[in-house]
Point group: C2
Chain length 338, copies 2
């Protein structure tokens, strides 16, 4: 196990490197931090830390920089979560209040998060699988054409056109609407299929084709729209990656455009508590030199979706984690109110 002081040295290295973006040497360390020992001693500690794989030197005659493993130790053992300042909290409030609909909430959140952390922000829309049905509406637009509108408790609305095999009367449609709603309102999406399973049978022969088509479309919508959506922002912050950003930015931009990748990334994060993935811990190659800080958010106890930021492994972890957590909490509150 590493001695107390060696951990302290690692912390100092991480802090300095995050600040200056340059390899940090033994002399500079002793000058900037009150370690109470001489550079030579620090050198020995550094050698030990390097043996253990926590730090590395880019060139033989250069200072040390933390490795992914070093950041991992720093995050797990050495760093807390820095709470936001009061002005920052107030800014969050001001910024998120006044959102008019779900799109707006997500949009504001992503901008806010990008601004606070000065990194790329990713916000997942509240997931449909975990949401419940607030209402199902059926509108007859033409004799054999019905529009299906699905409204969720998170305020999301999905709609589909249904071309019916046969015309259906207003009465039958109203009947279907009523029965459908009485069965599924307030229920979770995942439960809907079995809840509507035998609904077709209770209709007149002539309407059954249409009813089953409508139901099929509903189920299809549930499945399709369970594909989760997300919004990203603050990509301009990618230019703050460091001097080698021209090399790094491309794969990152590509990864950010692949929503599948990002969704998987967020999906890997724990449901509760904060998840930090550092460098090569990220499965996707393009993100091997980035860290992802993600956390779930929701209106109640349970997380309905996740949000987070993507930044260089050389990031201010305590500050970023603090901002991410604070934003997630406020968004949860906003969602609960609506």
């Amino acid at each position: 196990m590493l001695s107390e002081r060696r951990l302290e040295v690692l912390r100092a290295i991480v802090q300095d490197y995050v600040g200056t973006e340059e390899p940090v040497g033994s002399k500079a360390l002793t000058e900037r931090h009150r370690l109470g020992v001489s550079p030579a001693t620090v050198r020995n500690d550094m050698a030990a830390l390097e043996d253990e794989g926590f730090i590395a030197q880019p060139h033989t005659s250069a200072g040390r920089i933390p490795t992914d493993k070093g950041y991992r130790l720093f995050v797990d053992k050495l760093a807390g979560v820095k709470p936001l300042s009061t002005p920052e909290r107030r800014a969050i409030h001001n910024f998120l209040d006044g959102a008019v609909d779900l799109d707006d909430v997500v949009g504001r959140t992503v901008r806010l998060l990008a601004q606070l952390t000065r990194q790329v922000a990713v916000v997942q829309y509240p997931s449909l699988t975990r949401s419940t049905v607030r209402h199902v509406e059926l509108l007859s637009l033409a004799p054999a054409r019905v529009m299906l509108v699905l409204i969720t408790d998170t305020g999301r609305v999905e709609q589909r056109m249904v071309d019916c095999p046969a015309p259906i009367g207003e009465n039958s449609l109203a009947d279907l609407r009523a029965r459908l709603n009485s069965r599924v309102v307030g229920r979770r999406f995942a439960d809907v299929p079995q809840l509507v399973q035998d609904l077709t049978d209770s209709f007149e022969q002539e309407d059954r084709g249409t009813v089953s088509t409508v139901l099929a479309t509903l189920l299809e919508t549930l499945v399709e729209e369970t594909e989760e959506r997300l919004m990203i922002g603050g990509t301009a912050n990618l230019t703050r990656f460091g001097h080698d950003f021209p090399l790094m930015i491309r794969p990152v931009l590509e990864a950010l455009e692949e929503q599948v990748v990002l969704l998987k990334l967020l999906g890997e994060a724990k449901d509760s508590g904060m998840t930090v993935r550092i460098g090569h811990e990220n499965a996707h190659e393009g993100l091997n030199s980035t860290s992802v800080v993600a956390v779930g958010y929701g209106s109640g106890d349970e997380a309905v979706a996740k949000l987070g930021v993507v930044g260089p492994t050389r990031m201010d972890y305590p500050g970023t984690m603090g901002a991410v957590r604070a934003v997630a909490r406020y968004v949860g509150q906003i969602l609960a109110e609506s």
Copy 2:
């Protein structure tokens, strides 16, 4: 006026520079293009072109590169619109067919456009101001809570919660729904306000508060949601900007995140025909070294929205214009079908 040959020289310079990304000299020009004259002659022509401001030399002893004015002349007089190859057209078809809803259409379009042009693609959602109302639905979720759903002819759905001053009965609500729809279905958004103006008066005293609240919300939704949305993609292509891309990319990314800027940009484009804005012709500073190729698209004769690409001024204009135009046409068809 410039002689025929000088124009030919300018065309050659543009083509070579776009291809090689390096200043092009007189000797290389005569070798790669059959101009039928010697380098010395070309040098004289170049000097003339430079006097006129169509080309410039980055350093005294370097070749020439086109200026914004040079590209402008090239686009206006020298370049046609390169039609897409048959495989490319087929690819567009395959890619856009099978879109399930409006989000999907726009999403596919933006990816397609980014891929075809290898540049940043911007697609505006069909504008609400130019669309018509397909249906207005009112749902009673709680005694004094109504959900307003607005469906447009382009398949877009907007919803709002309305907190009513007093409970309203199902009958009155159905009545309102029917009258509202009979007045506004098929009408343009811009006409709706005057169409519903006197609707409140025809209701019972007790319901008037609620009715006017609902109508107010409807009008508000129309105004608010007229703020147009758009989708962008292919930002990874920004890395193809050239050797100095690290300097250019930041302001461009920032501009791309400001939807207002992009909307203004597209708004400046002509409604019909293609618009090309080159370098400093773009009002926004961050886009001073980019060109924007934009075109309107729509289901009928009239454009309901615009789409385009943002790329370096050094771009393949004929190819890009061809791709943009082709995609716009196909998207128009898709929208017309649905």
